[in-house]
Amino acid sequence: MSTLAFVLLYGVSYGLLLCIISVGLVVTMGLMRVVNLAHGAFAAIGGYLAMGLLTPLGVPFGLAIVLAVVAVAAFSVVIERLLYVHLYGASELDQVLLTVGINFIVVAGLTLAFGPNVLPTRLPASLATSVDLGFRSFETYRLLVLGVGVVVIGALWLVFERTALGARLRAAVDNRSMTQAIGIDVSRLFSIAFALGSGLAALGGALGAPLLPLEPLYPFKYLVLVLVIVALSGFGNIRATLLVAVFVGIVDTAGRYFLPDSGSFTLYVLLIVLIVWRPDGLLARRARR
């Protein structure tokens, strides 16, 4: 019982954090058909910004994260207009070359500015505690991750499913040229979606810093995890992303708990099985075939 509670609590909180980071890439990839391998770089920049505001400048934790998210979202629009516009319709090789190149630049830039070490992250005292849930104690910080994750993903789902903007985004994911033909400004949609995706990545990078330590190699280090989730989610499907990310979190946590020596492989076994079974993503609509 307590083991089950552990696996669920820790697996879900870990999974939700991965979901926040990955969901932005799921949306932009679905919409723009650009394999943005530099997605993690935006998460890293967000994390570094937030921690830079938090520790030396003494900005409160919540405000530091919000400021970092807004800054990265704004910055990403500039990058999108300058660089990513050239990738729409370009070959996958071009996309990979450019976005991996951006990763290298960010890694080198972070090393230059902050040195090769991990960036020290100090949680505010109120979060560095544990709460008693009745059946076991649980880290306050992880509880915060759970809460933020549920709220953010819920809000995103509402925007996507229940607003006009969401309807336009979904339309553009499904059929870009038809969306354009009925007079929707798809390139503006791209910018909005890109800002949203990068902002979410920054949120994950900043909020997740205590769990996924910030270091110059961050953009590459967590790329595999993010791509696993993206591959299993399929294009632009937020519900699938949530499901997959939580599943990945639970499988990884359970794998490491029950089979500590080979636990890191369980995730990849799962990936292989699911990709073979559902190559278009876990909840892909089959009617389109």
Partner: protein, 395 residues
């Protein structure tokens, strides 16, 4: 047109004639001895490479680049991350093309092991700044340890824990050779001392969330935990996870280099109470260590602290001097150089050190330390010094 070409050619010839003797002259005046340094200067462990450089530069700043009539030239090569194949290639390149006389550096044990064939073939002394696997010394008669044999701190940890009455031991190690060595040495010494090993975990090096391991340890209810995790992100995350599960305050945790003085600023207060057993503490109060720290901080900033990596590199140049002194006015010979190191003793910043003649392992002090909040910052406080510890095989 043709005349102009002639003029240019003549000018070029004249300038060449002027340059060539100037370039040749210093070579005749003093013999250069090249020392190849292989390290991870970029990538996830770039900190180790940075500290190698700081240690070498500090030594040169104190003693100059001249050694027994020869001028030392350091040739740096970067493996770019944990990469034994690249280390092997760079070692071959340095030995064959750059003709280095001495090799140094080599961060991880698999990298040192990969360089062994080239070192043996060319009979070149190789000073291992850090690599600590027990299996390395038998792999090459030209290896000399600048750090430690990893089984030593694991054994000392087990013995110390037993002397404190700890009965239930648990080990968590990185899943690569030195980790396996640590696990085995701890289990052997802890059981031999009458303790019971209640669990051993090998952590894959790509682990992100360490909470499952902390949970496993907590459920096994040990009273001492032996830890060997690579420094940097993994060590920070692991110690955080232990603290979040309340283990740091509850049980005795003994690590090695996870929270060195130079890395302590990366941690939050969760690291308080973490113990380590290690062969160097930057707090050692000796003339050698104080001079070493003073030079380091003068060159690289007042906040910079030395680690075992900085120290290994620094001490390696002491051995380079020793090797050259032993064969002054002769061509450099690797075999003679190694012979001159057998049984050599010197005063290192870490304390007195002797190279064991048979195993080329170091007989040196080990320091048992605990992280405490002191003078407004985190510090490793030495709680016990174990003097002249002999590695396995040393008589």
């Amino acid at each position: 047109m043709k005349r102009r070409q002639q003029v240019v050619t003549t000018l070029a010839l004249i300038s060449l004639a002027a340059i060539v003797p100037a370039a040749l002259a210093p070579v005749h005046a003093q013999e250069v001895l090249k020392v190849g340094i292989i390290g991870q200067f970029t990538g996830p462990f770039a900190v180790s490479g940075e500290q190698y450089k700081q240690g070498l530069d500090s030594y040169l700043a104190q003693n100059g680049a001249m050694a027994s009539g020869r001028k030392l030239e350091l040739v740096y090569r970067d493996t770019g991350g944990p990469n034994p194949a690249q280390a092997k290639r760079l070692a071959e390149e340095l030995l064959v093309r750059d003709k280095v006389s001495i090799l140094g550096g080599l961060y991880l044990s698999p990298e040192a092991a990969a360089a062994a064939p080239a070192v043996n073939e060319t009979k070149t002394p190789a000073l291992l700044f850090n690599a600590a696997s027990p299996s390395l010394m038998p792999a090459s008669p030209f290896f000399v340890r600048m750090g430690q044999n990893i089984s030593v701190p694991a054994r000392l940890g087990a013995e110390w824990a037993r002397s404190l009455g700890k009965a239930r031991g648990y080990s968590v190690v990185g899943d690569y050779t030195p980790g396996h060595d640590t696990e085995a040495a701890f289990a052997e010494a802890f059981s031999a001392g009458g303790g019971q090993v209640v669990g051993k975990d090998r952590v894959p090096l790509n682990t992100v969330d360490f909470a499952p391991y902390a949970e496993r340890i907590a459920n096994a209810d040990p009273d001492v935990l032996e830890v060997f995790i690579p420094p940097g992100a993994a060590a920070v995350s692991f110690i955080k996870a232990l603290a979040a599960r309340g283990l740091t305050q509850k049980i005795l945790i003994i690590g090695q280099g996870e929270a060195e003085d130079s890395d302590l600023h990366l941690f939050d207060d969760s690291v308080i109470g973490f113990h380590s057993i290690i062969y160097y503490s930057s707090t050692v109060d000796s003339p050698e260590n104080n001079a070493f720290k003073a030079t380091l901080q003068q060159k690289f900033g007042a906040k910079v602290l030395p680690s075992t990596f900085t120290l290994g590199a620094y001490d390696a140049l002491t051995l380079v001097h020793r090797m050259l002194e032993a064969q002054q006015d002769k061509g450099f010979d690797g075999k003679t150089a190694i012979e001159s190191l057998r049984g050599f003793s010197w005063k290192s910043p870490r304390g007195p050190v002797t190279i064991d003649p048979a195993t080329r392992e170091l007989v040196q002090n080990f320091y048992i330390r605990r992280v405490e909040q002191k003078d407004g910052r985190l510090q490793n406080v030495v709680i016990k010094t174990l003097e002249g510890v002999k590695p396995p095989g040393v008589k």
